[in-house]
Assembly symmetry: C2
């Protein structure tokens, strides 16, 4: 299977595949005489795994780490769970920060009832005054 077919079957751009290879995330495939990359089913699985990790918003570094755990299948999986726990708390703190931000933005927005002159706009005034609490 060539790169275009792999790309299509996993739903990824060919550039992204070459990028993952350069990053050491996807093992270098064989080559045809003309230099074209040749992939196997293993590559399909591996690439799909990477993509599912990315959907979970794991970083490439974290995916690397997971790969290292997979390569030592008889070790305890504590580290895998720890990685996930860390990631979950990361996501949760992002949510918390964004919720605080939303609140701030909504209260700023409430300072202006449209159609004033820019000069009198409560929103701009609100930002300029610095009547903002640090998050």
């Amino acid at each position: 299977m060539r790169i275009g077919q792999l790309a299509q079957s996993v739903g990824v751009d060919t550039q992204t595949i070459r990028f993952y290879e350069r990053q050491g995330l996807l093992p270098p495939p064989g080559r045809q005489e003309n230099g074209y990359r040749v992939y196997t089913e293993k590559h399909v699985e591996r690439l799909a795994f990477i993509r599912r990790c990315r959907i979970l918003d794991l970083s490439l570094a974290e995916i690397h780490e997971l790969k290292r755990y997979q390569d030592a299948p008889h070790q305890s999986c504590t580290a895998v769970n720890a990685l996930l726990d860390d990631h979950i708390s990361h996501v949760r703190s992002q949510i918390t920060a964004l919720q605080a931000l939303e609140k701030q933005l909504v209260s700023l927005r409430a300072r202006c009832n449209d159609d004033r002159e820019v000069k009198a706009c409560g929103v701009l005034a609100g930002i300029s005054e610095g009547s903002m609490h640090q998050q």
Copy 2:
């Protein structure tokens, strides 16, 4: 006032100040004979405004846009409010996406009760299987 003092009074790195200048966000200050930048109170206010916008997670492009509105103080401020409304809905959709992600991660995490072998780890199995719903 020199760059270091400006940096300290607003709580920004000097590099960031020079970066904002290059981006056209902060007007180029005067220079001493030795080439050192000399800032005024206007620069302090302007930089503080930029920082408060950044705390609200507005992009540099959005801050540019706000600046253009400020430069036309007699226009209607509808566009200012629209910018903020757009930003609020952007933040809200980020929150929604992250909440869905959190849910997915938590359910994945529930598939493993620590201390198994990596080989039998429900978390890794869960990612590999592809038993994931697209967000």
